[in-house]
């Protein structure tokens, strides 16, 4: 079983029933068991009745173990696994609204955005919205870089992830 990354974050991927109340059951279990969710992202999968949840949690190998077992125990969780950071890909999407009152600032922001392979997705007289995708470090870096322009708002999705290769460790090992 893989462990946390250098920040001590454990990456968990779960396939869950896609129906009302499931997120509550899962997040409630985390609260009840005193696990601390750092980020959580949910969306439908290739099957319309199943959703994938990517959760990051702070903790050690014991925490990882318990989180997976406690999740596996929930009836609505079909599969759950810890993903190895190196053997999986992780992405996060962020929308960042920046102050940009002058032409110079605008073009500077656009330069940075293109270096980060982001996109400008909205322009108003005094501001821009930038979309950046990547691992969380990249998004942190972009925000640090552009903070001096004045950040108006940030929305981040939290990490979503998939294991590499044809057979995912999830299918391989089954439930937990």
């Amino acid at each position: 079983m893989g462990l946390g990354n250098e920040k001590g974050l454990i990456l968990i991927s779960a396939i869950v029933e896609h129906k009302p109340g499931v997120l509550h059951r899962i997040s409630n279990m985390f609260r009840r068991r005193d696990f601390n969710i750092e980020s959580i992202s949910v969306g439908v999968t290739e099957f319309k009745d199943l959703a994938r949840m990517t959760i990051t949690v702070k903790g050690d190998a014991n925490t990882a173990n318990q989180v997976v077992k406690q999740m596996a125990k929930l009836i609505d969780v079909v599969q759950v696994n810890v993903l190895d950071w190196a053997n999986s890909v992780q992405r996060e999407l962020a929308l960042i609204k920046l102050k940009a009152e002058t032409h110079e600032k605008r073009s500077e922001i656009m330069d940075y955005t293109s270096v980060f392979r982001g996109r400008i997705i909205d322009v108003s007289r005094d501001s821009l919205i930038v979309e950046v995708t990547g691992d969380s470090d990249k998004i942190d870096a972009f925000i640090n870089l552009t903070i001096s322009f004045g950040i108006i708002e940030v929305a981040r999705t939290g990490i979503t992830a998939l294991s590499r290769g044809v057979i995912s460790p999830i299918e391989n090992e089954g439930k937990a």
Binding site: V16, E17, G21, H24, R25, N28, M29, R32, N62, N65, Q66, K69, Q70, A72, K73, L74, I75, D76, V77, V78, K175, A176
Partner: protein, 574 residues
């Protein structure tokens, strides 16, 4: 798939319950569950009208524990549903299969804070194994089947079904499925061969093997293999509170209860074991004492059907995720191939010596007529047949029962282990009596606990489930008083409780009430109530100063046993 004619949701529920084998329902009606009760009016299934929904849930729980079949309880929405909560949480902590059915406001009113609306799905999510809210009548049969499947397989537990009122009245064609799939749920876990072999190896080469049996081992099948393994290895068996009944306590290898109020033998010897086979236990703090110091010298093998219990509280050396009876069976067979029955080992001799000291202590007070906890429990054991069911309340009465009332088979000792719910005993004993009408059922109570659900006497009388309540009456919240005496310098804050004449109270409910003055009177009163076919309440006054001893102070290692100073000599040997 069998098809029934048109029917209402309420009728569908009752039909489905019957198909799952439910024979009795404990409950209280109300507005949001009226359509179901209306169907019940001419439906052939027994309904027991309770006085409080908490008791209804405990009765279902007691029924389940005594019979091995799930217990069913009904409540209306809102306060009816929330009154069930303690009973559901209690069943959850002790892995007891109950099916709780609640009425809910009609679908269009859900979320509108309608009269008696409560989010019982949200409230019970952390205390049920699963909960359902069918949105149409046609879902009900499948939901019920799933509920029973989930409640009774794997690690057992409560399931709640919350049915909106309009779903109860809705008409539809009903299909009763023969099979159901619950995709994310696979309760049948086969023991892994490699781990079984490793366990056999460890046990066979142990010099001081010991067994710890929890609630997961207190089932007939599992307990029979436990006995065989223990005898083959000459391994003594201690139990958690929930494990009581997993091993015959009159057996030379029985050490009795382990933990905060465990026996001298169990608590002392466990630190000497070199291999511990623990079965169906979650290593609760009440069982292990200070967990880091628990069973330090031993390699620990842990069998549990719930994988999440592995290394949750205690790191173990070898884990086997499987049904206890299956795992024990293959371990036993492995051991049989691996070794011959042992002759008397030094370990066994030490156990024997320890047990003599301990039993000597228990029998010491034999001649005195004074009402004291140990002789009271001894008289109970002597008087009751071996298959009688002893239920307890919570507190000193519970620990005295666990320590001094010997139990021989699973399902004959029923207690609230995980939640420690005062008020559990009386309704649970009524549920147990409903399950086993031919067997005497005795609730050993404390006065405080008894008063929490004492109105269930009316149910016991009216519905003819004649249990015997023995109130070990110290006129205080005894266990709290004991802690105040031992750990709070006798500052008795809010524990005095001498308010009720229990004889009159029993009589007011139509029960037989009697107060006794000494052991002889108690013995006679007990024998007499066994002959009656009406509920009995026996008030047994004892000193408010009695302690449950031995005791391990909270947070201490099991070796720090209080109240055994006079046995220091035996503890130092070995």
């Amino acid at each position: 798939m069998s098809v029934l004619n048109k029917s209402s949701g309420g009728k569908a529920l009752l039909e489905a319950l019957k198909k799952e084998g439910a024979s009795i329902i404990f409950g209280i009606p109300g507005g949001a569950i009226l359509p179901i009760y209306d169907e019940l009016y001419d439906f052939e299934i027994r309904h027991v009208l309770c006085q409080h929904e908490q008791s209804a849930a405990h009765m279902a729980d007691g029924f389940a524990r005594a019979s091995g079949k799930p217990g069913v309880c009904f409540a209306t929405s809102g306060p009816g549903a929330t009154n069930l909560v303690t009973g559901i949480a209690n069943a959850y902590m002790d892995s007891s299969p109950i099916i709780a059915v609640t009425g809910q406001v009609p679908k269009p009113m859900i979320g509108k804070d309608a009269f008696q609306e409560v989010d019982i799905i949200g409230i019970t999510t952390p205390i049920t194994k699963y909960n359902f809210q069918p949105r149409s009548a046609s879902e009900i049969p499948e939901t019920v089947k799933k509920a029973f499947f989930i409640a009774t397989t794997g690690r057992k537990g409560p399931v709640l079904i919350d049915i909106p009122k309009d779903v109860q009245t809705e008409e539809c064609e009903l299909n009763f499925p023969d099979k159901i799939i619950v995709r994310g749920y696979n309760p049948y876990k086969k023991p892994c061969e490699k781990q079984i072999n490793a366990a056999v190896e460890l046990l066979a080469s142990a010099e001081k093997p010991m067994i710890l049996a929890g609630g997961g081992a207190a089932y007939p099948e599992a307990s029979s293999y436990l006995l065989k393994i223990s005898e083959l290895l000459l391994a003594p068996v201690a139990t958690s509170l929930m494990g009581k009944g997993a091993f015959p306590e009159d057996h030379p290898l029985s050490l009795g209860l382990l933990g905060m109020h465990g026996t001298l033998t169990a608590n002392k010897l466990i630190s000497e074991a070199d291999v511990l086979l623990s079965v169906g236990t979650r290593f609760s703090d009440r069982t292990t004492g200070k967990v880091n110091e628990f069973c330090k010298e031993a390699k620990i093998i842990h069998i549990d059907i719930d994988e999440a219990e592995i290394s949750k509280n205690k790191r173990v050396d070898l884990a086997i995720v499987a049904d206890a009876s299956e795992a024990l069976k293959v371990i036993y067979e492995g051991l049989l191939n691996r070794l011959n029955k042992k002759g008397e080992t030094p370990w066994f001799k030490r156990i024997k010596e320890f047990k003599e000291v301990w039993e000597g202590w228990i029998f010491e007070e034999e001649s005195n007529k004074e009402l004291k906890p140990i002789p009271i429990l001894k008289i109970l054991r002597k008087t009751l047949p071996v298959d009688a069911i002893l239920v307890t309340e919570v507190g000193q009465n519970q620990m005295w029962s666990a320590l001094y009332f010997k139990v021989f088979t699973p399902r004959t000792f029923i207690t609230s282990g995980g939640l420690g719910t005062m008020g559990f005993g009386l309704p649970a004993s009524i549920g147990a009596k409903a399950a086993k009408p031919d067997v005497p059922v005795v609730d050993v109570a404390g006065d405080g606990s008894f008063m929490m659900t004492e109105n269930a006497i009316s149910v016991s009388v009216a519905e003819k489930f004649p249990v015997i309540v023995v109130i070990i009456n110290n006129r205080v919240l005894g266990m709290v008083a004991q802690w105040q005496r031992l750990f709070y310098e006798r500052r008795y804050s809010a524990v005095k409780l001498d308010r009720v004449d229990f004889v009159k109270l029993a009589e007011a409910y139509g029960a037989n009430g009697v107060k006794v003055q000494d052991l002889n009177e108690f013995s006679k009163a007990l024998q007499n109530s066994l002959k009656l076919d009406v509920t009995s309440v026996i008030d047994v006054p004892i000193s408010p100063e009695e302690n449950v001893l031995p005791m391990v102070p909270p947070g201490s290692s099991l070796e720090k046993i209080m109240g055994v100073e006079k046995w220091d000599w035996v503890m130092k040997k070995g």
